[in-house]
């Protein structure tokens, strides 16, 4: 285990070192070594570079929140609507799976046409991306419920509603939360892609802006900030998922 950690540290250090060396010798417009990114990040966080940064980040966060709320509502509803009745899932799941084979970004121009360049199109794109994993997770979870558990609960006197609440829901919790986590990750990506492809405000827009003005150090700092925020959000989701998994499988 120690060797592994050492290997990881060396790898990271090696990559950072390589980056630093390469970037020092390259065109400063294109290549920003870590030694320049760090001060740029500091300036960014002190709001010296872009005083309106919190507003942009706030807008992006708002878009993600709204999009995810819709993802959860629509995804769960559709998932249960398709998965609970006996044959409906078998009919419509292949259609959903086929949609998965389409690169999501092809829909974005249509969304831009319909919703314009404002937050609405970003939210819509986030919903489009994030809602599939949720629906598929509900369907997969429902399929995996052990039929014997339902027989047992019926024998103990559970009516269909009680079966759903006390047996089906707990049984699918782990799969469901995994799907919700994947959905969140995709929603975030969707909003960011939407903003970078064309927006007037937001974190993605800001990244676009710095790129357009060749402010490469600021761009790197912003990208890093975005990365950290994304990892933070996913980290929380991952923690929630592991708790849910342990609860469903029965560990205190």
């Amino acid at each position: 285990m120690r060797r592994v950690v050492l290997g990881r540290v060396l790898l990271l250090a090696g990559l950072l070192g390589l980056w630093e060396l390469w970037a020092r010798h390259g065109d400063p417009l294109l290549y920003v070594p870590p030694s320049r990114v760090v001060p740029a990040l500091a300036r960014l966080l002190r709001l010296e570079a872009y005083p309106t940064l919190p507003a942009h980040v706030g807008l992006t966060a708002f878009e993600v929140l709204v999009a995810y709320a819709l993802v959860v509502a629509l995804g769960l509803s559709l998932g249960f609507a398709l998965g609970l009745p006996r044959h409906v899932g078998a009919i419509y799941e292949p259609i959903l799976a086929a949609c998965y084979a389409i690169p999501s970004v092809v829909w974005y121009p249509s969304l831009m046409l319909f919703f314009g360049l404002g937050p609405a199109s970003k939210i819509a794109f986030g919903v489009l991306l994030g809602f599939f994993p949720v629906v598929l997770a509900v369907l997969a979870g429902l399929r995996a419920v052990e039929p014997h558990l339902l027989t047992v609960s019926r024998a103990l006197g559970a009516k269909p509603a009680a079966c759903f609440v006390k047996v089906v829901l707990p049984a699918i919790t782990a799969t469901l939360v995994a799907g919700l986590r994947a959905g969140l990750a995709l929603t975030v990506v969707g909003v960011l892609v939407g903003e970078i492809l064309g927006a007037r405000r937001g974190l993605g827009y800001l990244i676009n802006y710095t790129y357009g003005f060749f402010r490469t150090a600021d761009y790197a700092a912003l990208a890093l900030l975005a990365l950290v925020l994304v990892l933070l959000v996913d980290g929380i989701a991952a923690w929630t998922e592991s708790r849910a998994r342990r609860w469903t499988e029965g560990a205190a």
Partner: protein, 247 residues
């Protein structure tokens, strides 16, 4: 429920959806500027047909190149990382993190570095396609059942024979799964770059049509790319089943 009945219901559902959509536009409930009627979309196929196909070809060319590179690198890296225990333990968290990272964040930098031609599209396509392939293949290698390996080794198989006759067939399903996922990601990457950088191709066409508010043509072009993508994936799925029929 038989397969035939299922197909019939699916087709019926789609037909009903299209009919309702057409009705919505005809009755004025949906604005044809934003939501074109299916009939106008079909007509638009004829309008933009030749140009769209040409641009689709451009996009496909870049995608194919990116795909070949992504598969080569991805399968190679996957086999290596999955096979060498130490490598996997060290590299795995980085790979997973990079896979989860929204690669759109590095897109501006790629355009800065490679300019505004086909190259950044291919590079970004490779970037998108590499990770899912590598992760799936590495996972497949790690999941290989050790028992057949032991048995073959005890029968005196050489390393090369082990590799060809035991490991490769066992890893094949994961490789094919990765390749199926990879093509969608590569196409996605190429399209994104075309959209963002205004590079000639299907992505650029879609954005131009959207900016010009030519809704029927936009939907037609979108449908074209979608059908192509679904077709390719289904084709790969068919290949997958043929090659893995023993499962």
């Amino acid at each position: 429920m038989s397969a035939l009945r299922r197909r019939a219901l699916q087709s019926l559902s789609i037909a009903v959806l299209l009919a309702l959509w057409e009705l919505a536009v005809r009755t004025g409930w949906a604005d044809p500027l934003f939501v074109p009627a299916p009939s106008s979309v079909v007509r638009a196929f004829r309008t933009i047909g030749p140009e769209a196909l040409r641009l689709l070809g451009e996009t496909l060319g870049k995608t194919l190149l990116a795909y070949v590179l992504a598969v080569t690198l991805g399968v190679g890296a996957g086999l290596l990382i999955g096979g060498v225990r130490y490598l996997h333990d060290v590299v795995s968290p980085f790979l997973v993190a990079l896979y989860a990272l929204p690669k759109i964040l590095v897109l501006p930098w790629i355009l800065l570095t490679f300019g505004l031609a086909a190259t950044p599209a291919v590079v970004y396509g490779v970037l998108q396609g590499f990770f899912p392939i590598c992760l799936l293949v590495a996972g497949g290698v790690r999941d290989v059942d050790r028992m057949p390996l032991h048995v073959a080794r005890s029968m005196g198989a050489t390393s090369w024979q082990l590799y060809r006759k035991v490991i490769l067939p066992a890893v094949l399903p994961a490789v094919l799964a990765g390749m199926k996922l990879g093509i969608v990601f590569c196409l996605l990457g190429v399209l994104v770059v075309e959209m963002f950088g205004g590079i000639r191709g299907m992505g650029f066409l879609l954005v131009s049509l959207a900016n010009a508010f030519r809704a029927p043509e936009l939907f037609a072009a979108t449908a074209l790319v979608s059908l192509l993508s679904v077709g390719v994936v289904l084709g790969l799925e068919r290949l997958n089943q043929r090659l893995g029929h023993w499962r």
